[in-house]
Amino acid sequence: MTLLWIALLPLLGVLVPALNAQRSRMVCSLATALLPAIALLLTLMQIPALLEGEALRFAVGWLPELNLELALRLDGLSLLFNILIMGIGLLILLYAHFYLASDEPVGRFYAFLMLFMASMVGISMSDNLILLWLFWELTSLSSFLLIGFWSHQSDARKGARMALTVTGAGGLALLAGLLLLGDMAGSFSMGDVLASSDRIIADSRYPLMLGLVLLGAFTKSAQFPFHFWLPHAMAAPTPVSAYLHSATMVKAGIFLMARLHPAIADSELWTVVVSLVGTATLLYGAWFALFKTDLKGILAFSTVSHLGLITVLLGIGSPMAVLAALFHILNHATFKAALFMSAGIIDHETGTRELKQLGGLKKAMPVTALLTTLAAAAMAGVPLFNGFLSKEMFFTETLKTPVLGGLSWLLPALATLGGILSVAYSLRLVHAVFFKPAREAPPKSPHEPPHLMRLPVEILVVLCVVIGLLPALTATHLLDLATQAVLQRPLDFKLAIWHGVNLPLMMSVAALLIGTVLYWRHRDMRLFTRQFESVDARRVFERFVVAIGYRAEQFLAAFEGNSLQRYMTLLLSAAFVMGLIGLVQVTDLTGAAGNQPIDGVVILGAVMLIFGGIATAATHRYRLISLLMLSIVGLFVALTFARFSAPDLALTQLSVEVVTMILLMLALFFLPQKTPQESSPLRNVRDILLAGSLGLVIASLNYAVLTRETLSISSFFVENSKPGGGGYNVVNVILVDFRGFDTLGEITVLALAGLAIFKLLNRLRLFIPHSDGEGRVWSPDRYPAILTSVSMTILPLALLVSAFIFLRGHNQPGGGFIAGLITAVALILLYMARGVEWAQERLDFPFQPVAIMGVAVATLTGLGSWLFGYPFLTSSFGYFTLPVVGEFELATALLFDLGVYLAVVGATLMILANLGKVTTAHRPVPEQTEKDAETSSNPTSKEPR
């Protein structure tokens, strides 16, 4: 449970500054520091237990499907890292308290910092691979926020994005790698993984896994060639750089390599890849550190270099190398954090980090100068400082590496070279800033910072010295525990300053001497280096991202193309392919049932339909003619339904056909009357082929189904229509009873169409043509007199017919839908014959409520069955006898059908009449906002229906 608190406290700490952001900075800083301090204390309190060899674990289940547990461990390695993370974190907090300007949102900064700390602690304590990955990515995110903290600076934004992209990409690779690793080990639990080294290394996927995991580690730890984000992350406020880029985040990659060391490091592949990459990084970073003119730039590249050093050690992987690596982790954290903070102080006090504006600061800032010098000495590996110890161990290990065979001299040589460069840039750093006279004046006149701001540096420098002088006393236990954790067994070692005169010592001495000379001559080499400087990683990266975006845009424009014709082609092609795949599996196209004999009327119908269809397509450029041709199809489809025993369908099709015609003509009025010739002949041929092929496939499927016996559930409907549904017309009983739910949906669709169309007609700007397609002026006779009188006569008859069709629907062809359409069409005839103005006066009910009422009636009918304990839409019917009238049937289905009727009338009128009205004074008004409508007390006469 303590472990959970250790991990949790920093996380809770995120809230503290966020909640205290409004208070004074002092309160805010202190409050923020509280929780991590407790967590650090708790961590330190575990040391005795660890020393006794206890395994500290905590686990609760989280996502078993992913084998993910909230599993924490505290072993030596975690201990080392926790101390670094929280210890240095607290110092950074103190430092930042002074560093940030008074108007900067310190609460937010602390919150980000705590988030980062929490995720680092999480990484260090994770006892589950997936959990580790979660925290891993969280560090990328929080570092993104921290680097971009000064978001008004373009450098900060770009640096942050670059860091996020690179480490995020690495994180994704790491996820893949860890999933593989877990799969190979059979568990995501760290303990299991660490114990399955043999299995893992024997697995054929090992190289892939290793590559992915190392990709994660290398990007995070800024290893060559993924180092380029780190220098640009220096756009962050210095406390961030000091924390993230010296002590913690970049060490996450190192941590990962150390953590997984027992599981995956026992192979040559590991040694070769890791030490080579490490070496390259070591040298590359050191080289560029020597020539940077930005104080933090130097530190950034030196960090890259030192991370390379640690990586080399982990690559070598011998017990002592591991020890050295861990030791250097500790040492680097101390001196580099100190150096960053000093750099921050200098920047803070002088207003610049450019070397050419700095110089001779030892007078103004003697204490800082001293501290910096000491820390730099540690970095350079000067004896008596901690850096010396670990670096010498590094040299020792490079001499022992067995892998490179005949080239075994190479690694020590390169290591020495790294040492030389390291001495040179350390020297340069100190000399140029404090001792050499400045070439330009800095923006601010420098003086010593507040003492408390320097305090963290002082503590760290003292640590450098103390560890350097008394390694056995200060670091042994910690390193012992950490090494045990990495090696999974105790290691017998002794830290000492003096090992006698040996080759490593010689290498150190050589590095110191040659490094000094090198600094002396570094100007010459700078000329040589200049030619590489034009390659600015960030610019390359930015350009790369922009180029990718641009290419992506180009690709999409070409690929998607915003062309409906293309999309339709794809859709139809897909349908064709799919249908064809089925069709080729149909062994015998003509099924057992075969063909029925053909007769003349059927041939006539087929001729009419085929002709009508082709003519509709062929005349499509003359739109009205095309519509007339479509009408043939509509009529003959209805007749086909009649011919094949579907009177209800014939009726429906007929009424819909007429309404569709009216509708299409209403709309065509506002559209061009002809279609220009646009498609190339080739395209036409292609379209005809595509349409024809799909048509052929569908015809074949149709034929195949038609010539097979029908095996349908329909006999049930026929049998139950009268006894169960109370109607003789099975189709109608299906519609209002067996499948009344479909019908309810269907009238909802119809009402929705009316509503949607109302929306479309709103704020419609019209192109009203003054003449027809041929340029003829319209006839002046708006309402031909003969038509008007006939429409009067037809309306009552039509209503009567409508009532007739409605009432008999249950037993004979008919029903609410057809009746509704007849009513609607008759009313539309009135609109056509008499005009909107006239009809409006007489049809003064709004259409929308009618349509909705229809749906409501149908729904309520369905709900009524609940009262009797039956499911929704259960129908009932009964026979009643009245005097005079005699026996008659009443069915709830009739009520349901009434709903259908109302919905159809309302919706059809909403569609047609509203569309017709757009050219008149009664057009749907530009939609007011509902607020306006509420406040305006007098509804206008132009209220749309």
Partner: protein, 503 residues
């Protein structure tokens, strides 16, 4: 009432719609109250149903008291209950958000919204193939109307593509249903599934043709690769609450694929088992690739989110294409996450656009926003979640998906999912830093946003955290749902064999 619970997800929005649509204008308060109350009621119903389904039993509701396969039956299993809940959660966020002012930009918003919910819920519940068509049409037509809410050229133009393609799709749907009916003689999916067992060989080809035609239709709704083109512009131009609700629309297509093929073409289907699998698998990967490119190319936040939706479609369909209970479970978890988060992001985009004023959601420099910090925080959370980064649900979903892949599937899925994730990461960091960091100096722009909008957006985005905290229970549920889905005989027995075939 409790025995009618299954039909309530359809009936509640239907009645709410009726109440809301009866009067077209005015009564703003009344309409908002009705709409929010109805949606909340829907949420309660969905929770109740989830509870009911969690028992592991498949239950059904025979509409009109006509037993399956003759009448239409609503089928409740773990999957449909989950989809209902996700929809209800999304709807609550969207509808509250809309009360912040979007509902007044045109007529009938709330009514149409309710009916859209009715269509979606119906599609999730129905056990009948033709009824599925009907509900598809309900939800489509409602979506057409809602897409146009507020008007504007971009909306109209993107609607043309969306509508025409879907109309053609509806025709294909009817053809597919027709062939399946002609070949099997039934419309009830469970009945159809049970008939697959003794399907005569001469009908197999027909069934294949019908099933694959349907796959084209579902693929169109789900927005799989050669058929996704309608999506980006339509989603990007839709009004925010509508776009948010649209986040579940592609899932309807995915649901349909999952439902129809796992039930009808399950292990009882013999030769025809998993006939959709190769198509779904390979095309989903291609979708992922295209969506990743789209994410990189998007120059507008809404368009970016639309492509993120597409990434989720690709990922989910890949899960469908893996056709294993593990993958199904993973995809269900991912589906909850992605639906709610992309929905929330659409809302957030609208808020950002509102505050930025003229530049809107275009990724260009603008003035700093009045509520910039809060919006930035929300964006950060949403972006993390949607990009699949820890500690939010996207990371879990992605990890589950990747982990569910087996053997050679891994190579493809991992590469594409991870690359798409990287593309999202790059694009989102670019978008975020442009919107919130790269601003002109000068006056703050925008008025404070309505509380409703904050609530709606936060409601959806906060789900991500809950999904993380309760990852275990959620994944237990999805695992059980996946197992249930992998065993079609459960549904067949309940609906067909045990019901006895007569009323």
């Amino acid at each position: 009432m409790i025995q009618h619970l299954i039909v309530l997800p359809v009936v509640v929005p239907l009645i709410a719609g009726i109440l809301l649509l009866y009067q077209r204008q005015g009564m703003v308060r009344y309409k908002r109250i009705v709409s929010v109350v109805a949606t909340s009621a829907l949420l309660l119903v969905a929770i109740g149903l989830l509870n009911q389904a969690a028992s592991g039993e498949v239950t059904y509701y025979a509409l009109g008291d006509w037993q399956p396969p003759f009448g239409i039956a609503l089928v409740l299993d773990r999957l449909s209950a989950l989809m209902l809940l996700v929809t209800a959660l999304l709807a609550v966020g969207a509808v509250v958000f809309a009360c912040g002012g979007d509902d007044e930009k045109g007529s009938n918003f709330h009514g149409l919204f309710q009916w859209q919910l009715m269509g979606i819920n119906g599609a999730f519940l129905t056990g009948d193939l033709f009824n599925l068509f009907v509900f598809f049409e309900v939800l489509l037509l409602a979506s057409y109307a809602l897409l146009l809410h507020g008007g504007g050229k971009a909306r109209i133009q993107s609607s043309v593509h969306y509508v025409v393609l879907n109309l053609a799709g509806s025709s294909l749907f009817l053809i597919g249903v027709g062939i399946l009916y002609g070949a099997t003689g039934t419309l009830n999916m469970a009945d159809m599934a049970s008939r697959m067992a003794e399907l005569p060989a001469e009908r197999e080809g027909l069934v294949v043709a019908g099933a694959l035609m349907l796959l084209v239709v579902f693929g169109l709704k789900a927005a799989i690769l050669p058929l996704y083109f309608w999506l980006p512009r339509a989603y990007a131009s839709a009004p925010a609450p509508v776009a948010a609700l649209f986040a579940v629309m592609t899932k309807v297509g995915i649901y349909a694929i999952l439902r129809v093929y796992s039930l009808v073409f399950g292990d009882q289907a013999g030769n025809l088992e998993a006939l959709e699998q190769p198509w779904v698998w390979w095309l989903s990967l291609a979708t992922l690739a295209a969506a990743g490119i789209g994410v990189m190319a998007a120059r507008d936040l809404r368009l970016l989110i639309a492509y993120l939706v597409l990434i989720s479609v690709g990922t989910l369909l890949a899960g469908v294409g893996m056709r294993s209970p593990e993958a199904t479970s993973a995809l269900l978890y991912y589906l909850i996450h992605t639906t709610l988060i992309t929905g929330g992001l659409f809302l957030l985009a609208e808020m950002i656009g509102l505050q930025r004023g003229k530049p809107g959601t275009r990724l260009v420099k603008g003035r700093p926003m009045v509520q910039g910090s809060a919006l930035a925080l929300a964006f950060f959370i949403g972006a993390i979640a949607v990009a699949g980064l820890p500690p939010l649900s996207g990371a879990f979903g992605k990890a589950l998906m990747l982990n569910a892949a087996e053997g050679s599937q891994r190579l493809w899925l991992w590469t594409l999912v991870l690359l798409a994730g990287l593309a999202s990461l790059i694009a989102l960091s670019r978008a975020g830093s442009t919107l919130f960091w790269r601003s002109h100096r000068g006056h703050l722009s925008g008025r404070p946003l309505p509380r409703c909008q904050w609530f709606g957006m936060a409601w959806l985005l906060s789900s991500s955290l809950l999904l993380v905290v309760f990852a275990g229970p959620v994944s237990d549920y999805t695992q059980a749902a996946a197992k249930q889905l992998a065993n079609p005989s459960l549904v067949i027995d309940t609906l067909i064999n045990d019901a006895g075939g007569t009323q």
